[in-house]
Structure formats: structure tokens, C-alpha cells
Symmetry: C2
Amino acid sequence: MAFPAPLQRLIQALEKFPGVGARSAERMALHVLRSPAEDAAELALALRDARMETLRCAVCGNITLRTPCAICEDEDRNRTLVCVVEGPREVESMESAGVFTGLYHVLMDGFAPREGAEPEPDALDALRKRVEQDGVLEVVLATAPDREGEGAGLLVAEALEGLDVNLTRLARGVPVGTRLEYLHGEILADAFRGRSAMPAPSSSR
Amino acid sequence: MAFPAPLQRLIQALEKFPGVGARSAERMALHVLRSPAEDAAELALALRDARMETLRCAVCGNITLRTPCAICEDEDRNRTLVCVVEGPREVESMESAGVFTGLYHVLMDGFAPREGAEPEPDALDALRKRVEQDGVLEVVLATAPDREGEGAGLLVAEALEGLDVNLTRLARGVPVGTRLEYLHGEILADAFRGRSAMPAPSSSR
């Protein structure tokens, strides 16, 4: 005799999440049983709404309620500059930090795991088309500084071959706020390779 | 600009699961968006059904569709023997293994985390009442062999104080199928303390 059927069914549905094994799914399901019924109802509603109401922007590939998305339609942004990211979460991080005012191009749908994940061929074609047709002057690669990210970057470079566009990538170096003693040798090597002249002391100081 | 509102809402609902942080909830939510709509609908339904259709057995505390549960009502089981477990998952493991034919008593609702979790006072009172009224001859403690489990065992022993019942606990020792070199010293100490006479070779051999 196993768990009651409805509980078993919930466990099976939860196990479909990436990274959620049998034991985690059991714990999650038992949590649902002891939580207020409104919590389960809210999660059920949120699941359907998120699944039914969101789509991917036909221009940049980001997740949105309508296409083109608000970022792609924002005339105040720098439309000659496109930042290529791996997934929607990277867009969210950059927008939250408020450090970039150009447009984005999203290579993948951003679900885990990313091991072995490659840019969607459609996303690469769409990027080439944007550069050809939309007056893009610079494409900044902001894929992760690891094997998947480097691989994605190479595919982007290939996709843009022959086009008159500046292809750049985010600076690599020492991350602000860390202590050097804890940093990986490759980070330090990047930082040495990319070293720059010390800024002159500001005269207003 | 963050994620679209329905996605944000789904992330927040998923974050309520124990052990699911902001990043995991994002990954899970993005997984929902890329999965078939039927999967999201099935999970939504399963959530409500599991929450609405299950309850805890008024006798043993296990999760069930009706009370008393099928195990408590099964007249073929040994009704003089009650195994005390921490949660519904332990009942499920034991029933799957088919190693116990008595009745159960469930001390907690079994959601994670169990750190610091204590038996529900109602569960202890109910156990005492079962022993007093239902002809229980032996209570086997099957709480986990760790701090929480030992603590729960002490509370059970206190709750049964003064009653004429045999209180036993699961044997401790070397788990079958492992190699001794990998075992913790405390496991070996338990195994030495509990050593028993070698069974005589079977004459039929």
C-alpha cells in the first residue's frame, strides 16, 4: 500500500520539475497537505496563468505578456546596441541592476539544467536578421564565462559572420567586493590580461 | 522591469515550498513555461485534489482518503503490535518493503525540515489512549537513529509511562549490503553492543 492516490499523483507531477527527485517531491507534496488550502489553490492558479498568459517575444525571445515585448518597443532605449544573453533570468538581473539601456537578445528559454544546452537555431537566425535589418551597430556578448557560455558565444560569432557589426563581450576580471586570496587562478589571469592604466587622480578631489 | 506578473506570481508561489529558494523557484517556473500546457494543468489539478481529498487518520495519524485508514481497519493485521514512526513517508517505506504486519502510529505530519521537529502532543495522547483501550501489547519505536528521532523516542516512552505495554525499538547494527570500512564508528559500536550468538549451521545444508 503506497500513499493515497491523489498524493501519489501530486508527487508524480512535482517530480517533473528539473532537479526534483522522488524524495524532494514527497517532501513538497506533504508540505502542500499541511499548508493552508488557499496556498495550494494560489499555486494551482499561478501555474495555469503563467503557462497560458506568457509567451516569448518574437523579436528578442524574452518572456513577455505580449510581443514585441515592452523592452523591444521602448523608444527611449539605445536601439543600436544589443546584449546577447543566455536566458530570461539574465535579462531580469540586468534590468534589476539598471546597468544596460540597449536591447536584448535571448538565446535559450532558460530552464535548468543548462549543461550541454545550446542556443536555439531560431534565436541565432533572428539575431542575424535583427543586425541586418534594424541598424544594430554593436552586439555585446553577455553569456556566462564558462564552457556553455563560451560555446554559445562562438555560435553567435559564427551566426554574425560577414555582417558589419561590432561584436564585443563583457569585461573579465576581478569581481568588485571580493578578496583576491579567494579567487580562482583563471580569474586572476583574466584580470592580468585585461589590466588597464590607472585612472589619473581626479583634480576636484 | 522584472519578469511578467504571472511569472513573478508563480515564482512566489513556488518559493513557499521548503528548501526552494528564489533561484530554484525561477528555474522551476521557467520549466513550467516551456513544458506542455497539459503538464501545468495536471499539476494544478493534482495540487487541489491532494489538498482537498486527503486527511489524517484519526486513529494512527497517517495520511489517508478516509478515517480510520485502510491499515487501521485491516482485521488481518496484528492489532496488538503498534509501530511508532515519525511521518507518513516511513509508513510508505515499510509498507513497500512489506516487512511489518502490525499497525502504525504517526508522530508528525512529515514535511521537511525535520530539524527540531517534535512529535505532535495530540499524537502522543492518541498513542497512550490506543495502548490503554485497544489491547496493544507491544509498541516498537521506529524513529530515526539520530537526535530528533531519539528525542521523539524519549517523549513516546514518557507518554506511555505506567502502562502495561512492551516498549521496544528497531535493532541497531551493521546495515546489510555495506562494507565495514565505510561505516561510522557509532554504527560499529552499536553492532558490537548488540552482537548475538552465531546461528547454528542448518542441518539441511
